[in-house]
């Protein structure tokens, strides 16, 4: 019984955080802030569901399956990359060198670090 | 189990990957393997044809699963005939392509060529409706590659259209198959025949929709008006030897119509009555006429022949649309003829356009003009259905088969007037290409100012190409000999066609061979 309540608790928490994540996407009014919202969906939202699923497997179905851990692993690996890229898109399109804080000793953030396009190469160069 | 049935599918399917894996960078080896495979294919086809000529229908149960649960290959006279035709054509075109150096003008030609053969032959041999779809796709995608072989702007643009149009056809194919499966619960063609016959009379509407969509799919492949629009630009812009190979591809559509509408939705099946008859005949006649008009109205060599091919498809489908044993026999004879004739003329068109460009205009006298003129003239005769070549006999057979049809006057009129317009168009083209050039002196220079830079460039390339060797002519003469043999041995050929038609109109033999039981 305890486990059922636990499972239910995980599920409710997951639902709430999942909802809030997407709600934030609508509610928050600046693009970078919106980027924060889905992080919740991936962590506690999906995490809760996965936990519930694992517990459910053990408790209700009666066999241990941990492959939900794989999903968690992949999500933790990929979500930061996703966020990074979306942030870069924002920086690329809307932030300038001055609108961001100083980049320390390197002077410039990577997204803004555009090397000038090289001279058009001669046609006879062979392809690598 | 007679493994010869699967051999013509597996052989190219093994040779093609072998070529791309092992000998891709050695043109000579590639050619040798490709050619050897094609020769072997002809041999296999001959064996199959010999086996089929006994009248027995042979079945090959793939994966050892019996029909209708697994996929079966079925060899009857019709499929044997088509396979033989395909492989003979392939061999000749392979010779031409090698001789003319076309295969060197782009990558992966021979692998695609082999896969193309695999697709076509697979489509002819299969006894399963969905498998037919799969092999249609195999042959189509290979044809996409061959069509854009060696590239060029117009070829790519035409290629996009060709692919898009055919993808629409493939989609329709799936709609049709889904409907048929949903109604009948089977995919095997013989089983479909059995089950379609059992469909209750009060519940035919959905089956009819499926059946007619299937017919439309095949009509697209067979270039029936108004579903033919893909053909002229594709064939005219393809490398012309490839267009020659494509002469068999429209026949795949015709074959499938013939197969499905004799075996499954035959003339005696009440629930699908009147589906094909109502519009196929008029459409075929319009196809014929539009093709003929196109021949007269073409200003490019490839397009001329492409419309010629449409005309011959019109004639062929007219014969099929009679849905009588005589009509089908005529259609089969005409299939043999028109495939060889169209291929022949496409090769001749290539000889011409290799020497003086694609426009039908008078240019300076081309090398080997006399010989090519003779070939063109014979090809034109064949294509227009003039005596003495087999086209005339084929047309007479069609005319004769149509004599009891309601639309007999329309049929006769269209075929005859179509022939006239075709021969006028061919005469116009031939006289411009071969005769008028005699009145242009060397110093006159090229007549046309090129319409745009791209083509000017293509023209330049054309001048630099090495002059083709004798092999292309050997290929042309081989096709011509085929036409002549078909003429001289019209009796035996039409006898085989009659026997094939008889077999088609007795589907219970096929069904018994596949399912091991007789139609209830």
């Amino acid at each position: 019984m305890f486990f059922e309540y636990l499972i239910a608790g995980f599920l409710v928490m997951a639902g709430l955080f999942g909802f809030v994540g997407s709600f934030g996407l609508l509610k928050l009014n600046d693009p970078m802030s919106r980027l924060h919202a889905p992080t919740k969906a991936t962590t506690l939202g999906v995490g809760g569901v996965l936990l519930a699923s694992m517990l459910h497997g053990v408790v209700v179905e009666g066999h241990l399956s941990l492959h939900e851990l794989m999903i968690t692993l992949f999500l933790f690996l990929t979500a930061p990359v996703t966020a990074l890229f979306i942030a870069k898109v924002h920086i690329h399109r809307h932030e300038t060198k001055t609108s961001l804080p100083k980049a320390g000793e390197d002077g410039i953030w990577a997204t803004h670090n555009v090397t000038e396009t090289k001279e058009a190469p001669a046609e006879d160069q062979q392809q690598g | 189990m007679n493994h010869f049935l699967i051999a013509p599918v597996v052989l190219p399917a093994l040779v093609a990957p072998f070529i791309i894996m092992v000998v891709r960078h050695h043109m000579d080896l590639t050619r040798i393997f490709s050619l050897a495979s094609t020769v072997l294919l002809v041999a296999i086809s001959l064996v199959l044809a010999a086996q089929a000529s006994t009248g027995e229908v042979q079945v090959y149960e793939l994966g050892n699963w019996s029909a209708p649960f697994g996929i079966v290959l079925v060899l009857d006279r019709l499929s044997a005939l088509m396979v033989l035709l395909t492989s003979v054509l392939a061999l000749i075109i392979n010779l031409y392509v090698i001789g003319s150096g076309w295969d060197k003008r782009g990558a992966n030609f021979h692998a695609l060529f082999q896969f193309q053969l695999m697709g076509i032959i697979g489509a002819f041999l299969t006894g399963d409706a969905f498998n037919l779809f799969v092999f249609f796709e195999v042959l189509l995608i290979a044809s996409y590659g061959l069509m854009i072989h060696s590239g060029g702007t117009r070829r790519f643009q035409a290629g996009v259209q060709y692919v898009v149009y055919n993808l629409l056809g493939s989609t329709l194919f799936l709609f049709a198959l889904g409907t048929l499966y949903s109604v009948t619960g089977t995919l095997n063609m013989a089983d479909l025949a059995v089950r379609v016959a059992e469909i209750p009379a009060e519940d035919t509407a959905l089956l009819r929709v499926g059946a007619v969509m299937l017919l439309l799919v095949f009509a697209i492949k067979a270039a029936v008006i108004p579903l033919h629009f893909w053909l002229p630009a594709s064939y005219a812009n393809a490398p012309l030897p490839i267009a020659a190979l494509f002469a068999i591809m429209t026949k795949v559509g015709a074959y499938a119509i013939l197969r499905m509408y004799t075996l499954v939705f035959g003339p005696d099946v009440a629930s699908t009555e009147g589906l094909a008859g109502a519009w196929l005949m008029p459409a075929a006649l319009v196809t014929l006429m539009i093709g003929a008009i196109g021949v007269l109205g073409s200003y490019r060599v490839g397009r001329l022949v492409a419309f010629g091919a449409i005309t011959s498809m019109g004639t062929l489908l007219t014969a099929i649309a009679l849905f009588s044993p005589e009509g089908v026999a005529a259609a089969l004879y005409y299939t043999l003829h028109s495939t060889l004739a169209a291929a022949f003329l496409f090769l001749v068109a290539d000889l011409v356009s290799e020497r003086q460009g694609i426009e039908i205009t008078a240019q300076r006298l081309m090398p080997q003009s006399g010989l090519i003129a003779v070939l063109f003239f014979t090809g034109a005769i064949a294509m227009a259905g003039m005596p003495p070549l087999s086209g005339f006999l084929g047309k007479l057979l069609v005319l004769d088969a149509a004599r009891d049809h309601d639309l007999v006057w329309w049929i006769w009129g269209t075929i005859l007037i179509g022939s006239l317009i075709t021969i006028l168009g061919m005469a116009r083209a031939g006289s411009l290409l071969f005769w008028k050039s005699h009145s242009i002196r060397e110093t006159d220079g090229p007549q046309e100012t090129q319409p745009y830079e791209e083509e000017a460039n293509e023209q330049d390339e054309l001048q630099q190409r090495p002059r083709p060797a004798a092999l292309p002519f050997v290929a042309c003469f081989a096709l011509l000999s085929g036409l002549i043999l078909l003429t001289v041995f019209a009796g035996p050929a039409s006898h085989y066609a009659e026997a094939t038609a008889a077999q088609l109109f007795a589907p219970e033999i096929y069904i018994k061979a596949v399912l091991g039981k007789v139609t209830p």
Binding site: - | G159, V160, T171, G178
Partner: protein
């Protein structure tokens, strides 16, 4: 809410995907046409899938322990084949469209038409 049934939802999805596909295929640039083909492919795949009738929670994975209903596996196999094939086709059409665009520097799908000037008629 009589229309709220699986069959209606699936049928309407098929219809809409087909309609959207057709509309886009009739556009004049290659790219929308490819989009249209994709949508049409979805439509026909669902169509083909649905010809096996629809069932929830009855995957055709045989269960050793219980007598359970299975949905029709055959259309699924057919759709899988169709998906793979249309994937190959899409890749090819995308590439040819790209090649056509790069060669002509124009992605109109209708071919430019050059009716040649008539020369002297023979």
């Amino acid at each position: 809410m009589g229309f709220l049934n699986i069959e209606f939802l699936v049928a309407s999805a098929v219809g809409l995907l087909t309609a959207a596909g057709i509309y886009l295929i009739l556009r004049r640039r290659t790219f929308p046409v490819i989009l249209g083909l994709s949508l049409l492919t979805y439509g026909v795949n669902i169509f083909l899938f649905a010809t096996g009738r629809l069932m929830v929670d009855a995957p055709p994975i045989l269960n050793k322990y219980a007598e359970v209903p299975y949905t029709d596996p055959l259309p699924q196999a057919l759709v899988l084949t169709a998906i793979v094939i249309s994937f190959g086709m899409t890749a090819v059409v995308v590439m040819i469209a790209l090649a056509a665009y790069l060669s002509a520097r124009d992605d109109k799908i209708d071919m430019p038409h050059h009716p040649e000037d008539e020369g002297e008629d023979a």
